[in-house]
């Protein structure tokens, strides 16, 4: 699994270009998140792809050839943090609710909705952690789940910032 961070133009069709490129290179995307940055013209993507280092090189260098991609970088080998967010709706009756609450606490999840027959749990963390909670919740009955996909950031002084200077080219 390889993790690529990309800064792209925040406008229609760009997600399609990125996804289409991965498809063309026959690289399966495990998760792709996109969201705004502090600069409204730019969106940030985290792409987690089922490929090796060579495939990742091909993907990030081809991504950077797209006019609408300002930067694409493979951060798989860099010291970095990854987070996934999940909302999990689980069956919960009076009898097993205390036990459930205990488990959620161990995983540092939060209960954000309580209904007579169910709870919604919010949990963020690494994929392993969320998979771990999911595993122990399964016997209670998982009714529904939504996961955000991973976002990633390199640690400390290893900054990955988008190039922002408006480039006015007068060559043509």
């Amino acid at each position: 699994m390889q993790t690529i961070v990309a800064y792209v133009e925040n406008k229609p069709g760009v997600l399609n270009r990125v996804a289409s490129l991965a498809r063309r290179l026959a690289i399966n995307i495990d998760s792709l998140t996109v969201g705004p940055t502090e600069n409204e013209a730019i969106a940030r993507m985290t792409i987690v792809a089922h490929t090796d280092e060579k495939g990742a090189h091909r993907l990030e260098s081809s991504l950077e050839k797209l006019v609408d991609v300002r930067l694409a970088e493979n951060i798989t080998e860099r010291a970095s943090l990854e987070r996934d967010l999940a909302l999990i709706k689980v069956l919960a009756d009076q009898a097993n609710r205390p036990h459930l609450m205990e488990l959620i606490k161990v995983f540092r999840g939060r209960v954000i909705d309580v209904a007579p027959e169910s709870l919604i749990i919010e949990i963020s963390g690494t994929v392993d952690k969320i998979d771990g909670l999911l595993e122990v919740l399964r016997p209670f009955g998982v009714l529904e789940m939504a996961r955000s996909g991973r976002i990633a950031m390199t640690r400390g002084g290893d900054l990955l910032r988008p190039p922002v200077d408006e480039q006015v080219v007068t060559a043509a």
Binding site: S62, K65, R70, L71, A172
Partner: protein
Amino acid sequence: MKLTGAQILCESLTKLGVHDIFGYPGGAILPVYDALGSSKLHHVLVRHEQGATHMADGYARASGGVGVAMATSGPGATNMVTGIATAMLDSSPVVCITGQVSSKLLGSDAFQEIDITGITMPITKHNVIVTRAEDIARAVREAFLIANSGRPGPVLIDITKDAQQAIAEFDWDAAAPKLPPKRARVNYDQAEFDRAVALLNSAKRPIILAGRGIMLSGAMRVFDKFVRTANIPVAMTLLGIGCFPASDPLNLGMMGMHGEAWVNTAIQEADLLIAIGMRFDDRVTGDLRTYAKNARKIHIEVDRSEINKNVPVDSALIGDAGETLAKLLPAVNVREHGDWLAHIKELRGDSAVRDIQSLPDNGHLYAAHVINDIWKETHGEAIVVTDVGQHQMWEAQYYHHEKPRSLITSGGLGTMGFALPAAIGAKFARPEADVWVVVGDGGFQMTMCELATIVQEKIKINIAIINNGFLGMVRQWQEFFYDKRYVATPLVAPDFAALANAFGIRGERISSRAEVAPAIRAARASKETTLFDFRVEQEDSVYPMVAAGASLSDMIRRPSSPLVETATEP
């Protein structure tokens, strides 16, 4: 100045130095055609939109500038797809302009509405849909910039009909391209550069693999200097032909699937490959597991995504070929490589004797003879535009190109039907040039409607149909790999000379070797287009050949004798 979007488009193209546009009108592009009538632009009416894109491509390849093609929405736009993909695979700077239904109708499946930006996304360098007149000038300027910078490629601009009709302020300066900024990359560090220099200066058996990137970079002069300083022999890709004179002793000619056996052997024995502006295509390398096992590799390439894609390299110098070679040149030692060059000469061995040109005239006409005669009679100075297949390989083997941009051919996509329209484009780019189409009887029938374009535009090109009554290259594969089961390759054709006459073009059928040279001379002397139907040996094959996926060391050689002598119907 207030103008309609259509007028802004025409003004912008004129300001960018465009003279000729290849296109076909229709409903959604009509406002632009109306504006074209009162502009300085010359519009070439094609007979099929695929032809328009190939013409723009041929124009770009012959000139080094940007070629422009135009079509209406829907089927007009989809007909361009093959031509756009052809330009993409060969890094050709083509700008395609398509009309689109009005913006308020987008997504409604209106008459002749198609999502052409969606369709062409993977086969363009960039594409854009413009829905406002005030955005047209910038879109055109950006398209030209993108198409012809870095690694060139096609760009498509889809303009809605309401944007063509609306009135906006035309302010050229305010419409300067504003592309998203890119991160400044370090292409290579000093260590990478030093590694390349050390490899170059210590190699005993080096070979340069020269590709089209050298021409796209305009690096012919510095490349020439580099080659002569280091005395390194040059093998070329199909699209690299012309970047170094064929007559130079250091030029080995084409490598790969239909390269000379001794050239491929030399590559397999080399201790260093210096790949410049080429991408280690499978037609060049054969089986990657056995490819140039003894060689270290240096890759000089403008496109970072090509590095280590097919062949892992020891030193990658990312950047423009000319700039990189200029940096390398002072660091490269003057070398002789006498033993290596002598060894390569030995490898040639009996290849000249085996060559079909050296065999006595047996009364039959071979394609290689025709091409060799075209070469001789044009003194190697013509622009030859080929189609795809056997004749294309024979052209690469027997027409000896001395100058860049003198061979125009569809390499990457291998598009049949390319030659005739691309030659028309090349003629518009270089009206003074002697332009020859070399095309098979199969490919010619795909786009022969463009003969009418030649007549309507009153241009002169020469057309040599290498007619063997088969889809020859496919037949050859069937002969070698499918036990001669010739399924769907025997091909009925019209009487091409009579067909030419029907278009108002001089047509001539040639069946013997003695007739070839005088006929070519007469065609060159004529002010009008001549179409030749060269009736050549039906079941001749292109030799040598590396089977697809086989090792470069494993070549099928031309049998010394006897030659194939299938009768041709006169």
